[in-house]
């Protein structure tokens, strides 16, 4: 039925690939029987096609490396999804500006990487501050809880983000005050609480990345700390209790911040 159509290069290629419907295939065969030179080329191309397939076959038979498992890739993506696109877009924007500004982009990127490294050490800084100030008898805080409104407003302004002092009465702790601290050239806030037994806990807050993280637990010489990042603030809650006792307190603080959503609504 298609026998009258002249043979084209598309027919020859489909013949090499074995993809012609039988009638057309017969027509190509008949054509090639009268064109020995073309027939020899086609045979050679079929042989090369087979050789290439055979040479590469092993790669598709290898076991798939675990780093290419879709479940692993998706898990990695979930871990970093809130951070990466924004950071990446910002870098691309800088690179697009190019030239001198591109160099500034490099500086900015380096300082950002440095900040991320510092974020890891926020817990260490917070634990150190905890140690120094909870044992302070005369001046554990700069501004006492009686001036809570002023304290929160002042620390929010210095840290650059709206803060709140969470209510931990249900956990048996009451606010005794807070202070301003330096942290890597930036301002950080420290709220201090005390329970009926005189045990103190601190909540450390400083401006952090936009990324959100889950709780990270640290323990140094009997002092426990949970840290997390939420709404651009890096928090560390620290007390001389064990992990199981501190976790419900950290969760209570976290939930209060979640409930207020925008912390500014809470107090300011």
């Amino acid at each position: 039925m298609t026998g009258e159509r002249p043979i084209g290069e598309d027919d020859l290629q489909a013949y090499v690939d074995g993809r012609l419907p039988p009638p057309r295939r017969e027509a190509v065969k008949a054509y090639l029987s009268e064109q020995p030179a073309t027939a020899a080329q086609v045979e050679r191309e079929i042989a090369l096609r087979e050789a290439l397939r055979a040479r590469l076959a092993f790669k598709a038979q290898e076991p798939i490396p675990s780093r290419l498992r879709v479940a692993n890739l998706m898990a990695a993506r979930r871990r970093s999804s809130s951070l990466r696109p924004a950071a990446f877009a910002a870098v691309l924007a800088w690179l697009a500006i190019g030239g001198v500004l591109g160099a500034w982009g490099g500086v900015w990127w380096a300082s950002r990487a440095q900040r991320q490294a510092e974020a890891v050490s926020v817990a260490d800084t917070a634990i150190a501050a905890h140690r120094i100030y909870v044992s302070e008898r005369l001046h554990p805080v700069e501004v006492p809880a009686e001036q809570e409104g002023h304290l929160v407003q002042w620390l929010s302004r210095r840290v650059g983000k709206p803060l709140t002092a969470p209510n931990l009465n249900a956990q048996g702790y009451h606010l005794i005050g807070g202070r301003l601290l330096p942290d890597g050239g930036e301002a950080a806030a420290l709220f201090m609480y005390e329970n009926g037994g005189g045990n103190r806990l601190t909540l450390y807050a400083r401006s952090g990345d936009e990324a959100q993280t889950s709780f990270q637990f640290e323990e140094r010489d009997g002092v426990s700390a949970f840290s997390w990042i939420e709404n651009g603030l890096s928090y560390v809650v620290t007390a001389k209790v064990d992990r199981a006792q501190l976790l419900p307190i950290a969760e209570a603080i976290y939930k209060q911040f979640q409930a207020t959503g925008d912390p500014a609504k809470g107090r300011l």
């Binding site: 598309d10 096609r49 050789a51 290439l52 397939r53 598709a60």
Partner: protein, 168 residues
């Protein structure tokens, strides 16, 4: 998530083979496949109801080409060592010589011809799928395939002097 995995994972062996044929380096090839899968996952919901296989190979090829452009722009030299002397150890000398030459011949072709030979001849994409991956009309697929096969054949018959070797 299970749905994505169950659709993507059957495509991975072919993507790895295509990547390796282009790059001839196991680690670099799997990096390319990983980039491809990550991009596919992140754009999963933007995927039109088209052909998944063609979509994935198109992503991978575009990433490969972008990588080439970047390397060229940076002036990074891709050494001959990355291309040559890839041997399958378990082959008889005769077979080995022939198959070794096939990869030599493949390397001698420009990327668009290498890709079309690999996508159609090795990965068994349909001509329509190949047109989608290469973003060219179906007619161009057939003429490019014809040219690529002729060029490979000529290279195999006349040796490397016949076709100017191209740096990948």
């Amino acid at each position: 998530m299970d749905e994505i995995a169950s659709l993507l994972e059957p495509q991975i062996p072919g993507l790895r083979r295509y990547a390796w044929a282009l790059l001839r380096d196991g680690e670099a090839a799997d990096d390319l496949v990983q980039d491809t899968l990550e991009r596919a996952i992140s754009r999963w919901h933007q995927r039109r109801d088209g052909d998944l296989r063609a979509w994935l190979f198109a992503i991978q090829r575009n990433l490969f080409i972008n990588g080439l452009r970047r390397r060229k722009a940076q002036g990074t030299h891709v050494g001959e060592g990355a291309l040559s002397d890839v041997q399958a150890p378990d082959m008889s000398p005769e077979t080995h010589a022939g198959l070794h030459d096939v990869l030599r011949g493949l390397d001698a072709l420009p990327e668009e011809q290498r890709s079309i030979l690999l996508l159609i001849g090795v990965e068994d994409l349909s001509y329509e799928q190949a047109a989608q991956v290469l973003d060219i009309p179906l007619g161009t697929v057939m003429s490019r395939l014809s040219r690529a096969r002729a060029r490979l054949r000529e290279f195999m018959e006349n040796g490397r002097s016949a076709v100017l070797r191209r740096v990948k």
